[in-house]
């Protein structure tokens, strides 16, 4: 009599295990791992927002770790994130390079920086949005950590917070393994 239940029970346990693992490891949008991690950062030469007429290339930052922060004046979360970037720039652990993503009008970005301050060492302009695609950007803000060898170490989708900075960015910048979640 017990035999009748062994097979369905086995199937149930197996299915439950598969679903449990699947749900546990299911990447929600915020935590999708960037495929760029461990790979050389895409190289760009783009118009320099702060020096009209000049271009900015990220190859010039090689040799030291840097952050690439993707932002736009149309992006609400970027505004929420901005004070945190200001704090980071004052600490000067690492230069922050801005990628001004799809801001049609330069004056909007200039006004933004004037009003909220400029945390960026330099800002590259990506009006057509092509460079953002090379970095696999899904939505602003996103922050990439590129190490001294020009290799992408981490990608944060969403606003930077003190907790995320300390948990994910600082250990990687200091060459330590981050505490896993």
């Amino acid at each position: 009599m017990m035999n009748r239940f062994i097979l369905p029970l086995g199937v149930f346990v197996l299915l439950a295990a598969v679903l449990y693992v699947g749900v546990k490891n299911s990447p929600d949008r915020e935590h999708l791992r960037s495929v760029l991690i461990g790979k050389p950062a895409p190289q760009f030469t783009l118009p320099d927002l702060l020096k009209p007429g000049a271009t900015l290339s990220n190859t010039q930052f090689k040799g030291k770790p840097y952050l690439l922060n993707v932002w736009g004046t149309w992006c609400v979360t970027c505004r929420v994130e901005h004070p945190m970037l200001m704090q980071l720039s004052q600490k000067q652990d690492v230069p922050i390079i801005g990628l001004n993503w799809k801001d049609e009008d330069d004056s909007l970005a200039h006004e933004w920086l004037k009003e909220f301050g400029n945390p960026y060492t330099a800002i590259a302009q990506d009006k057509p949005g092509r460079e953002a695609i090379n970095w696999g950007v899904t939505a602003a803000p996103e922050t990439f950590l590129v190490d001294a060898n020009g290799v992408v170490q981490y990608r944060l989708a969403g606003a930077m917070t003190p907790e995320i900075w300390e948990r994910e960015f600082l250990p990687r910048i200091q060459g330590k393994q981050p505490v896993s979640r």
Binding site: R29, L32, S34, V35, L36, G129, I133, G136, T138, A139
Partner: protein, 143 residues
């Protein structure tokens, strides 16, 4: 009443028209390739919508990227790889057929086989029951 339905129909078709992408190619083969690819690439911002059907800015940028790659004469696989290199396999609605994804492709077949085995066993048992069921039930005088 008729006018109401007509205007409703018009209003509905207007919203679908917005989603239609007007990108045109001289070469019909390229047009077909473009349509095929934009329908199988995921809009990473909206989820469960292809870049062909999404009105999000990023989807428009990705369509432009596909258009340019198609114009450069890239093959389907080259364009898929270009996107996967940037956004990961998640951007493909149809998972790649590689060793890691094999279980994904084989699972439906495996489940079908299990289902077939179970169905056959049940049917055989039932058939046996009917064979044995020739004794009249006590008190049943028949119809």
């Amino acid at each position: 009443m008729r006018a109401f339905f007509l205007s409703l129909l018009l209003a509905l078709s207007a919203t679908t028209a917005l989603a239609i992408d007007i990108t045109q190619f001289d070469d019909p083969a390229k047009q077909e390739q473009y349509l095929r690819l934009t329908h199988e690439l995921r809009c990473m911002q909206c989820l469960n919508t292809s870049i062909a059907d999404s009105q999000v800015d990023l989807a428009a940028d990705l369509r432009k990227e596909v258009r340019d790659l198609v114009n450069e004469g890239k093959t389907d696989d080259e364009i898929r790889k270009y996107m996967v290199d940037r956004y990961g396999e998640f951007i493909l609605f149809r998972p790649l057929t590689n060793a890691r994804n094999m279980w994904l492709w084989l699972a439906p077949v495996i489940f079908l086989v299990i289902g077939a085995i179970v169905a056959v066993r049940i049917l055989r048992q039932r058939a046996k029951l009917v064979d044995q069921d020739d004794e009249p039930i006590e008190g049943d005088t028949g119809r």
